[in-house]
Symmetry: C2
Subunit: 207 residues, 2 copies
DNA sequence: GTCTATAGCTGGATAGAC
DNA sequence: GTCTATCCAGCTATAGAC
């Protein structure tokens, strides 16, 4: 089967447009027309390149899930000590989310509607999520025993770390109101947040 | 204009069904047919009672936004000291969210798609959100000056509190996988979380 | 490879019988 | 007040010209 050669430029434009529209609106509210307009082409061409809305979405979603979980596995699996890992996770998560503020609400919204799908995507993406916690737990318990940190449930600690890094981006519109600021100001607050959250966690763990 | 008497039973059933479907799927993905089936009636009757999908949604959404912000204002406005307020906020938020786990993802998803709307609803609901932060800030700064707690940016502290209370419910499907548990187990973890998070925060604030 | 035109379906809303 | 039947807009997807 010979495949016709495609204009890479168009394909790329479509993917970018699809990403924009899907991440902002979610699957159900996104319209093929929106994507076409964003890409500067017409609807028919979308189908020519990607056949169906679902197929397009799966491509984007898969990529975004990887991004959402990216790095976390490597950091937890690395040889760093606990404090270094906490620093690295916060730094990594917030940096990614400043660049892609719509990422968590998009992924979590779709995951909530179809928990099944996430598992498939996560497995394709590599590491099984429950392994993350196991590795993390061992190290935390070890540090507790050595009295490097005070006693704490490792899963609760991991939840705390992820919560403080990710939630503000999900609540962004609310926070912009509360903080009386705009996108630029929000970004400044999030940058400052890296240091603030790290300190907060380390303080909470002191023996 | 005489209004015909309506069967309260049906209206209530519809509202319950609408709530279920809207909170699980969001506005765009929800179908009137889904709601009708859930309520054990047909589509036409939905329109008879609530005229349009949007009107139904607004009713539900308004109620849910109130619920989402409920209590927070009273707690922050109360005469409690900071530690008591932190304890009360965590207790209150997690208790509500155990009863309505879909609440945050629903509200935040819709708010992200239409930030305008939230402002209207929030104002109808009473207190303007930025006043919350101002009140909280005064108290935090005061406690810092008195050396009751260590120095910290009040908005970052408020974000930390809200993040740790709310985020796990948004990430519930992911957490269920990571923790290798089901709905019941998740609830147990969240109940334990009340104490864990409160301690975590108070530790982090120690001078 | 890209466009216009249109088929075909889904889902919100209304009319009208009971 | 509740149902069946139907309308109509909006959307995905395809056919076919260029």
């Amino acid at each position: 089967m010979v495949k016709e050669k495609r204009d890479n430029q168009t394909e790329k434009a479509i993917l970018e447009a699809a990403d924009k529209v899907f991440t902002r609106k979610g699957f159900a509210a996104a319209r093929m027309e929106d994507i076409a307009k964003e890409a500067g082409i017409n609807r028919a061409l979308l189908h020519y390149y990607f056949r169906s809305k679902e197929k397009m979405f799966d491509l984007i979603f898969d990529q975004r899930v990887r991004e959402f979980f990216s790095g976390l596995g490597e950091i937890i699996g690395s040889e760093k000590n606990l404090e270094e890992k906490i620093r690295a996770i916060i730094e990594h998560e917030i940096t990614i989310l400043i660049a892609h503020p719509y990422l968590p609400i998009f992924v979590l919204q779709e995951v909530n509607q179809n928990p099944q799908r996430m598992l498939e995507h996560a497995q394709k993406a590599g590491a099984h999520p429950s392994m993350l916690l196991k590795k993390f737990s061992v190290q935390v318990k070890d540090d507790i025993k050595k009295q490097i940190i005070r006693p704490i449930d490792p899963s609760q600690l991991l939840m705390n770390i992820m919560s403080m890094a990710i939630y503000p981006f999900i609540a962004k519109p609310i926070l912009k109101t509360i903080l009386e600021t705009d996108d630029t100001g929000f970004e400044v607050v999030m940058k400052r947040r890296k240091k603030e959250v790290t300190e907060f966690i380390l303080q909470a763990l002191k023996v």
